[in-house]
């Protein structure tokens, strides 16, 4: 049924719909209201989960790994500094193949101390072995958490997943969200019943000390699972469309790219703004498109190559910076498109750091910039900081 709710409320609702059994959460702006909503639902009996009030995010993830080894479906949520504190345990959950699902309400990492959104926190965790998906709106936050459990707990995958909603811009923004009935979700998402869990009749040591002779092969199996997850996300997306009508059957959602001269690759809430800007440009006869990269891990290399076959000038908008060559997504997109390097131009745009608002006007400027590159065939700068106070960008 349709309801008006914030992104955080949608995340908490998804946990309830997924019949989560163990929650361990620690407050941090802007994630906190997820923890509060969960505590309220548990207290009112709306959720029949055990809620562990841990004393740190590090302990939150540790507790859930323990709980998952017993066979319980687990859930937590965090942001920024909390996610960074969890870093050690993120590797642990992935290596232990424990399918924890965690919404991350993305927020800048200090200093400078900043409670607003950017993707520096989540990009810092891209090598931990977690699946990472970005949400454009609160509906996606709810839907992707449910799909995430189905993929994460798939016996061939058994990898944890991060569902990323932008701090404040989504977490504290009320939007219409269609909330499926829990019985419908029970049909889509079966109870968690892992093969690998504590069994008193066959006592085992979980974790173990693996020497150089086999450690690499265990890590290779992790890598294979992440590769296999691409197909699993598409299958689970198709099944979700059949059950609830909303289409998540692609890792990259192409918006008006079929005949586009240029396209902008973008993740998160700003994708919506970029789509509106693209529509405006289309009204003025400019053929531009938006490629919303929903699934960052596993990285959709194949879908991006197909995009590069049709669109020869591609921009990548990052709300992160890697202190190397541009933003995180930009680097990985150029890497993926390397086979098409001679025909495709890829430009990186960095913006929206520390909660800086990104407007439709700025996206139109980026599209104009990309169109100029497409026409001239030359690119003066590979990476540009958008709306940086350097005197060049005028605010209208």
């Amino acid at each position: 049924m349709l309801d008006l709710m914030t992104g955080n409320a949608a995340a908490a609702k998804a946990a309830m719909l997924a019949r989560v059994e163990v929650i361990a959460a620690y407050p941090i702006t802007p994630q906190t209201s997820i923890s509060e909503k969960l505590a309220e639902m548990v207290a009112n009996g709306e959720m029949n989960a055990k809620y562990i009030k841990v004393e740190s995010e590090h302990s939150a993830m540790a507790a859930l790994i323990g709980a998952s080894y017993i066979g319980a479906r687990t859930f937590t949520a965090t942001s920024s500094q909390g996610l960074a504190l969890m870093h050690e345990m993120l590797f642990w959950a992935a290596g232990a193949r424990r399918p924890v699902v965690m919404p991350v309400v993305s927020r800048a990492l200090g200093p400078p101390w900043n409670i607003w959104t950017d993707h520096m926190d989540v990009m810092g965790e891209r090598d931990t072995g977690w699946m990472q998906l970005f949400c454009e709106n609160n509906q996606e936050t709810l839907d992707l958490i449910l799909i995430a459990y189905r993929v994460a707990e798939d016996k061939e995958i058994m990898l944890p997943a991060m569902i990323i909603e932008d701090g404040f811009i989504l977490s504290h923004t009320f939007e219409k969200v269609d909330v499926p009935a829990i019985e419908e979700i029970d049909f889509y998402l079966h109870p968690f019943n892992p093969d690998v869990k504590v069994n008193f009749r066959k006592p085992r040591r979980y974790g173990s000390l693996v020497m150089p002779d086999w450690a690499m092969e265990f890590r290779y199996n992790n890598a294979l699972a992440m590769e296999k997850a691409k197909k699993k996300w598409v299958e689970a997306g198709i099944a979700f469309k059949k059950a609830f009508g909303r289409d998540y059957s692609s890792l990259v959602e192409l918006y008006r790219c079929e005949d586009a001269d240029v396209a902008l690759i973008i993740s998160g809430s700003a994708a919506g703004t970029a789509k509106v800007a693209a529509d405006r440009m289309r009204e003025r006869g400019r053929k531009v498109g938006v490629a919303k990269l929903r699934t960052f891990r596993p990285f959709p290399t194949e879908e991006l190559l197909r995009l590069g076959e049709s669109v020869r000038t591609i921009g990548v908008f990052d709300r992160s910076y890697t202190f190397a060559q541009g933003g995180a997504i930009y680097g990985e997109v150029r890497n993926a498109l390397y086979p098409l390097a001679s025909d495709v131009k890829v430009k990186g745009y960095i913006g929206g750091l520390g909660g800086r608002d990104i407007t439709e006007a700025e996206f139109e400027k980026m599209f104009e910039d990309l169109l100029a590159i497409a026409r001239s065939g030359s690119m003066t700068k590979d990476v540009e900081w958008v709306a940086l106070k350097d005197g060049s960008w005028r605010w209208f």
């Binding site: 059994e21 163990v22 361990a24 989960a49 055990k50 562990i52 009030k53 841990v54 004393e55 740190s56 590090h58 302990s59 939150a60 540790a62 507790a63 859930l64 790994i65 323990g66 709980a67 998952s68 080894y69 017993i70 066979g71 319980a72 687990t74 050690e88 345990m89 642990w92 504590v198 069994n199 008193f200 006592p203 085992r204 040591r205 979980y206 974790g207 173990s208 000390l209 693996v210 020497m211 086999w214």
Partner: protein, 299 residues
């Protein structure tokens, strides 16, 4: 007729990789005799992570979940919550960690678990330094002791302060039961671990666990030196429950010198240093006795 004074069942396998004479392996063997097979242990990085052996082998005959260094308290809460969520009862959840993993890096998670009144037994095997990484000073390293990070040297840089009073720190935090145990008194140990099993809430067991390489003693003296620790009052055996302290064995009969001089890590102690250790031990022992009344678990 000869009879066994501790349960016969063995839940530790032969062939584990403990050093010859390791106190912590004997301790695990005794604790598991009291805990029994329906036990799930979680353990951080510590000697026991290596003692259990290399994959695909494992030395304990109960389920063990490895965790990161800081997490024993938190993982224990997670395991108990999941067992409750799944309606699985009659399982003893045990957090099994070393001294550094408890009083230093793991203190926050332990304090959190106690504050949450998680129902589990936390057993700290105290070999009084970070032994797995090669004998570095920890919060439980005793006054004046040598370790590789308190090597003495020209500036007399031995351990400058006494052991962290972990029991006194955790009692006000809210443990339901606390006890000190030693590998030299296995019957007392088994009785206390069984008692801890019967109590709900967080139970803390502080176990003295001698370490031949770390204490610089012959491996054959592992039990004897642990016994001396209690006989000199350095490691008294007692229990705490609901505000009441109970002295398990009032056997403080020997001077601390006998304990100190039995170990290479103390052989540099001067008479003045020994006297200071004796003074502190007498003071602490008297304070403990003042708090103690009544009979304990082992009667």
């Amino acid at each position: 007729m000869p009879r066994l004074t501790v349960p016969k069942e063995e839940l530790v396998s032969k062939g584990h990789s403990g050093c010859a004479g390791c106190g912590a392996t004997l301790l695990a063997r005794m604790c598991l005799k009291a805990l029994g097979p329906k036990t799930v242990i979680n353990s951080p990085a510590c000697c026991w992570s290596v003692v259990q052996g290399v994959w695909p082998r494992a030395a304990l005959k109960v389920p063990v979940i490895d965790n990161a260094f800081e997490c024993t308290g938190a993982v224990s809460s997670g395991i108990r919550a999941a067992l409750d969520a799944k309606g699985i009862e009659d399982v003893t959840v045990v957090g099994w960690a070393g001294d550094g993993g408890t009083v230093d890096i793991g203190l926050q998670a332990l304090s959190g678990a106690i504050d949450r009144r998680t129902d589990f037994i936390y057993i700290m095997y105290d070999n009084e330094a970070y032994m797995n990484t090669g004998i570095q000073c920890s919060g439980c390293t005793p006054l004046y002791a040598w370790t590789n990070t308190t090597p003495g040297g020209k500036n007399q840089e031995w351990k400058q302060v006494s052991k962290k009073p972990i029991m006194e720190m955790l009692i006000p935090n809210g443990i339901a039961y606390g006890a000190t145990v030693s590998i030299a008194y296995p019957e007392d140990l088994v009785a206390k671990v069984k008692k801890a099993k019967s109590i709900r809430g967080t139970k803390f067991i502080h176990a003295l666990s001698s370490c031949p390489p770390g204490w610089k003693i012959p491996s054959s003296k592992s039990v004897e030196v642990a016994r001396l620790a209690t006989q000199t009052g350095i490691f008294p055996l007692y229990e705490y429950e609901n505000g009441a302290y109970v002295l398990s064995k009032d056997v403080k009969t020997k001077p601390v010198e006998e304990y100190l001089m039995s170990q290479g890590r103390f052989k540099h102690l001067t008479p003045a240093m020994i006297a200071e250790v004796q003074r502190r031990v007498d003071e602490d022992y008297a304070a403990l006795k003042a708090k103690c009344k009544g009979a304990g678990a082992s009667g």
